[in-house]
Every structure is written in C-alpha cells, then in structure tokens.
C-alpha cells in the first residue's frame, strides 16, 4: 500500500465533497441548509436535551447554532458517536464520525439509546422515506411489506420518538414520493386519527424541509407555517401529495439566517456541507 493512500485514509475524506460541484462549494450565499439549520435553532429552547440520529447535518448544525446564540444550556447528543455536546470541529456528515468526539463526553451507543428510551430526551429528530399528513414516518418499506417497491434501511431509533417531549421531523427531500397521504409502514407514529379513541399520544411538532417549515393543527393535520425565501406556497403544494392545512392570512417567509448566525455556522461548517443541500 502506498504511503499516499495511507495518508489519504488517515486524513479522512469528506464523502460529500466527492460529488460536489464547484458551484455547490460556493459558500458566500445563504443556502437551503442554512435556512433549515436556523429553523431548527429557532425551534429549540434553552436547557433542552436533544437526541440526534443518522444523517445529522441539519439538526447538529441547528443545535450548535442554538448553543452559540440563544440556548447556551442546551445539550445535544450526536447519535451513533455517543458524543455529548460536540463542538462540531468540524461539522461532519456521518453521525458516527470521529469529529463528533471533540465533545464533553462520549457515551456508548447502547446507553445513548437506552437513556432516550428512558425518557431523558426533550427533543428528538427524525425523518422518513415517507412522511404523511398526520406525521407518521416510514423508514422500512414502501409498498407491501413482504414484497416492497422500495426497501428502506429499517426503522432505526425513530419508533421511540414518543419517549421525547417533542419530535421535530426534517428531510432534505420535499417531494410527492416523501410527502404521502398515508405511510405504508409506521416506523414512527404520528398524531392519532379520529378512529384511535382514547390515544393521548402527541405526534411530531414540526417538520423542516428544503422548501418550508410545517407544523400540525390541533387535530393533528400537517399545516404550512412558512415557506423559505424564493419558494411559493404553490411550489410546496405541488411537491406534497396531500392537502396541507394552511395558516390564516398570507403564508410568511421563513426567517433568513442573520449575519451573526451565518458567521456562527461558518465557524463549524468548514467543508460547506450546509451549502450543498438542495431540494430534491
């Protein structure tokens, strides 16, 4: 094995850079990733404890941004790695990345998950191959379970979402394949339907996508809260295969990250990963 190759492996490599175009690497502007991360930050409250799982870029960045701005007492646990309060030195694309160990503690993963199942989480982040109008999420199978048209990875930690006080959904793909009227497999249970009498479980609280921020009505139906800069309500509707509840009055625009927020994000997003999240 050549020393060069050894050096490359030792140094590590950014798996996203591999497919990055020059254009995507352009960092000066505010990208969708920044808007989504800022939306996460704004949804968090000081002192909360967050559990973050796979594909962690958006919640990690948002949580760190919150720590650096309005929520210094927030605790975040970077899923697989077990890193507690990682400095994101730098923000890394895999939840199990060694970069997440520049942190205050490193817990074994089984303890992270058990603490979460034990109810120690204020906020849980989840997503899905499918997300439906009641906030149910599917990470298992699209189509029939025993002969699916799409075999997903499996349910991971999201079946336990109800153990947290509140769940925030996020996805980097806002399209009709993801936003379906009803999921084919319930990996994460959303808001109870009218027929589920007596079920008091709450579903997810918020959904953050590359197009918009959404929440749920008191009846548990997904509702548009705001559209990101440059996105119309119609574009959101066109990419959602069920009818969203709408806010009263005009749909507001999601808050753009401030200059300060952008500066903070650039201190930990050294590879510009937030710049290359684009709606699909």
């Amino acid at each position: 094995m050549s020393d060069d190759y050894k050096a490359k492996l030792r140094a590590g490599s950014d798996p996203l850079v591999f497919f990055k175009s020059d254009d995507e690497l352009e960092r000066s502007g505010i990208a969708r990733g920044h808007i989504m991360a800022a939306a996460v930050s704004h949804a968090l409250r000081d002192g909360e404890t967050l559990f973050i799982g796979a594909n962690p870029l958006i919640p990690l960045a948002g949580a760190r941004l919150a720590q650096l701005t309005h929520a210094p007492n927030l605790t975040m646990i970077a899923g697989a790695s077990g890193g507690v309060n990682p400095l994101l030195d730098p923000l890394a694309p895999s939840s199990g990345d060694y970069a997440n160990l520049v942190a205050e503690a490193v817990l074994p993963f089984h303890e992270v998950l058990m603490m979460f199942m034990g109810g120690h989480g204020d906020v849980f982040f989840a997503g899905g191959l499918q997300i439906d109008r009641r906030g149910n999420c599917n990470l298992a199978t699209v189509g029939k379970h025993d002969m699916p048209v799409l075999r997903g990875p499996g349910s991971a930690g999201i079946p336990w979402a109800s153990r947290a006080r509140r769940t925030i959904l996020y996805t980097t793909a806002h399209n009709k394949r993801v936003f379906v009227p009803s999921v084919d497999f319930v990996s994460l249970a959303g808001w109870p339907t009218e027929s589920e009498v007596g079920i008091v479980s709450r579903g997810p609280e918020l959904v953050i996508t590359p197009l918009a921020v959404l929440d749920f009505t008191a009846d548990g139906v997904m509702r548009l809260v705001s559209v990101h800069s440059g996105v119309s309500p119609q574009e959101v509707a066109d990419n959602t295969s069920f009818e969203l509840a709408m806010p009263t009055g005009e749909v507001p625009t999601t808050a753009q990250p401030t200059d300060l927020e952008m500066r903070h994000m650039r201190t930990f997003d050294l590879d510009g990963l937030l710049s290359i999240i684009v709606p699909v």
Partner: protein, 301 residues
C-alpha cells in the same frame, strides 16, 4: 473458560485471520458484527467469513449495519436477518439488501428496531430471559409485522400490558478495537458504539485490531480497556482492517470506495464482480489494499 499457551506461560490469543475465522464451525447459530454505520466495522474478519463460506442462522443487523450486512446477505451466508438499520447513512440505501427484498429472497427478514435489539442484548449479557420494552412501540407497525420478535407481556407489579423481546446472546461476535494486547484486552481509541456490551454478551468474541500493544501498556491505564481479555477468543491484527469503513482515530471511511461499491452492487453481476475482486479474490489483506488503492474498477460491471 479459555486456556492456551505452553505450560506455565499465559497463552497468547493472537492469530492470523485465516486461522482465527477457521475456528468457527461451518454453521453458527447467530452473528453480530460490531461497529456502527461505516465506523469500526471489522471488515477484514467479515471478508474472511465469506472467503471461508461460514454460515450463520441469524444475523443481527444493528444498531446499524452497512457493508457487513451487504456482503453477508449477498453471499447468501445468513438465513435470517434481524433488521435494525441496514444502509450507508448519508451515502445512500443498501443496494444488495434492496434488491434481495424487492425481488424476493429466501433470507427471512425480521423487521425490528435497534433499541429493542440492544435491550435484548443487555438482557442476554445479564442472563435475563427477556427484556420488557418501554411503552411507545404499540402504535407503530413493528409489533404486528414481527409478532415473533415482539411479544405482549403483563407487568407483574402493575398489571399493565406492554411488549417484550427475548434475550439476545449472539453465538459469534466480531468486533474491532484499535489496540489490544496479545491476551485480548482491547482499547477503543474513539467511540465504543455498542461493542463493549456486545463483547460482554456474546458466546465467542473475535477481535480485529489495528495493532498490538504490550500487556504492560494495558496495565498502565486500565480504565481505558474497553473489552476485558476474558471475553475474547482470538485477537487478529490487521492493518486498515476496517476498510472501507473507518477506525476511529486511525482512519476515516473511504467514501470513494463505498460509493463505487454502491454503484457496482446495484446489479447482481456487479456485486459478483465486486466480491471476486475485493473479497474472494485477494489472497490476503495486503493484496486487498493493493487492489483498493489501484482503484481499477473497470473490471466491475
């Protein structure tokens, strides 16, 4: 109970990779491979299992399995898979897993979740017959989809109904530590993921390491020993043995190789070519790394 070594001397557990995996019977009841996502996965041991065609009844794909699950399923060496998560995280879905399931396979797929699997493993470690689950799964599709994995149980103290999983005690565990002494005292230089628990629970533990350190070094700071020697059957030093996955503090995952794998493995022929070139083809790890480094994927469909 382990023994070894010449009379009067403590026995070393250091073995070559072929010899170590050769200790396994042709068919083992169950297998759990350590690490998580693309990190700390003892891939050299996994590849050797495929070379020697070792078969396993149940493969526990959790908390998150990537290439290990792919290769073992693709090589048809496992009869059933308990799925917590099989995928490549931000890199994408698992192509062999997808194709097998979407086209229909005789590998039995047990839809599960990592939390329940780890509670089962914890129960197995402590000799408990089963693990009651916290409330919360009832409204998901999991219990009805996998009634053999999840069973109803009533709390003997309150009468409340809930779910439970059986204790999990893998007959074989493959784990990766960055360092170990010749007796099997292993150190995780970064995350230990769930591998400490796995090593305490499994019947037989095979440990892959980047390098050996002396027992004196272990004695100097025993608080960092993540796997005690008593749990370890064999210690296998393999340089870059996790490739293309990461070994914390030693090297990152090889995203180039992984993406090329995912592209190749999207067809049966491409997967077969990959296995031939990178798994069954290379006679040893040195040759494997030479092929990796050459990055010549032209022979792969």
């Amino acid at each position: 109970m382990t023994t070894g070594g010449a009379d009067g001397a403590r026995g070393s557990k250091v073995l070559g990779i072929e010899e170590a995996i050769g200790l396994l019977p042709a068919h083992s009841e169950s297998l759990w491979v350590g690490g998580m996502h693309m990190h700390n996965v003892p891939m050299a041991l996994v590849r050797e299992c495929i070379r020697q065609e070792k078969r396993f009844g149940t493969f526990y794909a959790g908390p998150s399995s990537s290439l290990a699950a792919e290769l073992l399923m693709g090589a048809r060496l496992v009869e059933r898979v308990v799925v917590g998560y099989i995928g490549f995280e931000q890199l994408g879905l698992a192509p062999v897993f997808r194709r097998l399931v979407e086209k229909g396979t005789d590998i039995q797929i047990i839809e599960a979740d990592p939390g329940s699997m780890l509670l089962g493993l914890q129960a197995g470690m402590a000799g408990q017959p089963f693990a009651p689950l916290p409330p919360g799964l009832e409204r998901t599709s999991l219990p009805s989809t996998s009634p053999g994995f999840y069973q109803g149980v009533s709390d003997p103290f309150t009468g409340a109904l809930g779910l439970a999983v059986a204790a999990i005690k893998p007959s074989v565990a493959l784990v990766h530590c960055q360092q170990a002494d010749e007796y099997g005292n292993g150190i995780f230089k970064g995350s230990m993921f769930s591998d400490h628990l796995l090593a305490l629970a499994a019947d037989r533990v095979f440990m892959q390491v980047e390098g050996l350190i002396s027992n004196d070094q272990i004695l100097k700071y025993p608080l960092q020993t993540g796997v005690p020697a008593m749990r370890v059957s064999a210690v296998v030093p393999v340089l870059f043995g996790c490739h293309p996955c990461s070994s914390h503090r030693y090297y990152n995952y090889d995203d180039v190789h992984l993406r090329l794998y995912m592209a190749a493995a999207s067809s049966d022929a491409g997967f077969a070519d990959y296995v031939k070139k990178f798994v069954t083809g290379p006679e040893d790890q040195e040759e494997y790394m030479r092929r990796v480094q050459n990055q010549d994927w032209s022979s792969i469909q």
